[in-house]
């Protein structure tokens, strides 16, 4: 019982619980789009570019204060995302090559900027692998503001986004704002990644973004099921991961990602077994 009581006794754990709840909801909403659009590599590139933005923010402002760090990191990452979005929407060259170059360039620059200007600051590891202890009250406000914004966007644009993802050429012929959707999606992904990086870390964030959608698209027979499974899986696995992380005193990002992966494997094995039993 102590495993759960802790979250209501200590403020920092309660913030971590609230933050994880909101972020897993956001991940659950966006994840099926990322998988269906084959944007997994794009997500990885954005999350790794966050490291460059963080290093630059540290170097310029020497601040670890939550809002300053969040605002400038987000701004720099959005600028970097604009480049990558422009390159992939234009499609002059294969987008995976472009994303790969962007990925390694921003990561290497991030590490070098950190070593040159922020060596005395050891917090970089927190951003690589995440640390739930770093969530503040301001972070929680920000995350919930983001959640409201995304739910609002989904409510009004969900069907058009699905149509563009499913049949992009027809959407263009019908003059839907396809490029604006791509850009909005990349920006949303960026905001989500920057917000999530404190909990999951820039390296392990991919688990949040990919695993729920991957499982949902593997199991679902219709669209409603896709988003229901993705959100329920994301919420459940994140909360279980958070409880394990606290109880066994393990790093939060790694524990959340490992829990998601183990639950994914379990679900896929159960599905396979069910199919075999049905066949017999």
């Amino acid at each position: 019982m102590n495993m759960i009581n802790d979250f209501f006794q200590y403020d920092f754990l309660f913030f971590a619980f609230l933050g994880t709840l909101a972020i897993s909801l956001l991940g659950g909403l966006l994840s099926p789009f990322i998988i269906a659009r084959s944007n997994a590599f794009m997500g990885a590139a954005i999350s790794h570019s966050t490291l460059l933005s963080l290093s630059v923010t540290y170097a310029l402002f020497r601040s670890t204060e939550g809002l300053t760090l969040f605002f400038w990191t987000l701004l720099f990452t959005l600028i970097l995302t604009s480049f990558i979005a422009y390159g992939t929407i234009k499609k002059k060259m294969p987008s995976d090559g472009f994303i790969g170059i962007f990925y390694s360039a921003t990561l290497s620059l991030g590490v070098n900027v950190h070593n040159l200007f922020n060596k005395e600051n050891g917090d970089m590891l927190n951003f690589l692998f995440g640390n739930i202890l770093t969530l503040s009250k301001e972070d929680i406000y920000l995350i919930y503001l983001l959640l409201i914004f995304v739910v609002f966007l989904f409510y009004f644009q969900f069907k058009n986004w699905i149509f563009i993802t499913f049949d992009e050429d027809s959407a263009r012929v019908l003059k839907l704002p396809v490029n604006l959707f791509h850009l909005a999606f990349y920006f949303l992904l960026t905001i989500l990644i920057v917000t999530m990086s404190k909990i999951a870390g820039t390296i392990l964030i991919e688990a949040f973004l990919l695993i729920p959608g991957f499982l949902a698209l593997s199991l679902s027979k219709n669209l409603k099921q896709v988003f229901a499974i993705s959100i329920i899986f994301s919420l459940t696995s994140s909360i279980i991961g958070l409880i394990f992380s606290n109880y066994f005193e393990l790093p939060s990002g790694a524990t959340l990602a490992a829990t998601q992966f183990l639950l994914l494997a379990l679900c896929l094995i159960l599905k396979k077994s069910y199919n075999l039993i049905i066949k017999q």
Binding site: F166, D167, D169, R172, V173, L174
Partner: protein, 270 residues
């Protein structure tokens, strides 16, 4: 007046010197079927993208009788997302919402009836056969009541009976709804059989007129290839063996060409 008229249409990509299309002229009138044929890489898909508005012509004009009207576009099946589990009815509803269709439910019901898809409305699009998918894609375009429907490689992946069935559906729609069609396809035989007019296209050279006026020489000039080779290729396609994807300057052995005749292509006496 034609519902679509192309006047000296040319296209090249901004940073490139070579024209992909040059001075192309053609027109389509109401209830007509225009078949676009030509070798691979000859600009068929580029022209189609210009017609539906996905690309802008570098030079020339594309005049629509009704500039504000929507074009019914049937994309290649390969361009439809394979991962999202969307049912037929969901797909049609998405299209109806995208065009803000009034009285959508009744219109969808009517369209499903025309395409004989009433019993398949709850099927997942990606689990259907190639022929059924094509019918769904056509149903989707009918929701916008288009004067012009453009089909991109509609017979790809269909066996010969599936191709016949699809082309019969197109014929029925033409008669019922009086829509015009543009069909871009590699399948020479089917396109020639169903079209009223032909646009034979190979980048900077083209020929356009009623299909009865198409001759062996014209085809050979545009394809840069002997007709016998084209017909062997056509036979290969029927058997599902595509041995000769490019018809440019062929040196193929035409030893069995005497056995192959084509009902629509006149053989000029040389």
């Amino acid at each position: 007046m034609p519902i679509l008229k192309a006047n000296q249409l040319s296209f090249k990509f901004p940073d490139e010197n070579n024209w992909i299309l040059k001075d192309i002229n053609f027109e389509v009138s109401s209830k007509e079927i225009l078949g676009i044929i030509g070798p691979n890489g000859g600009g068929k898909s580029t022209l189609l993208k210009i017609i539906v508005g996905l690309l802008k012509p570098t030079e020339g004009l594309l005049e629509f009788q009704n500039p504000s009207g929507l074009i019914g576009y049937v994309p290649q099946m390969i361009n439809i997302n394979r991962y999202l589990p969307i049912t037929v009815i969901e797909y049609l509803n998405l299209q109806a919402r995208a065009i803000k269709l009034l009285n959508a439910d009744a219109k969808i019901k009517e369209t499903l009836k025309i395409l004989e898809l009433e019993n398949k409305k709850d099927y997942l699009f990606n689990s259907m056969s190639g022929g059924e998918k094509q019918r769904v894609l056509i149903a989707k375009t009918l929701l916008i009541s288009p004067e012009l429907i453009v089909l991109d490689e509609p017979t790809t992946g269909l066996d010969s009976s599936g191709q016949d069935q699809l082309l019969n559906i197109i014929e029925d729609i033409r008669l019922q709804l009086k829509s015009a069609f543009i069909i871009v396809d590699h399948n020479l035989n089917q396109v020639l059989r169903k079209s009223d007019k032909i646009l034979c296209l190979n980048r900077t050279s083209h020929w356009h007129d009623h299909k009865e006026l198409l001759t062996k020489n014209i085809l050979e000039d545009i394809y840069h290839c002997e007709l016998e080779h084209l017909l062997i290729h056509e036979n290969d396609l029927k058997k599902g063996v595509d041995q000769h994807k490019n018809h440019q300057f062929c040196t193929h052995d035409h030893s069995d060409s005497n056995t192959i005749k084509h009902p629509f292509i006149k053989r000029d006496k040389r």
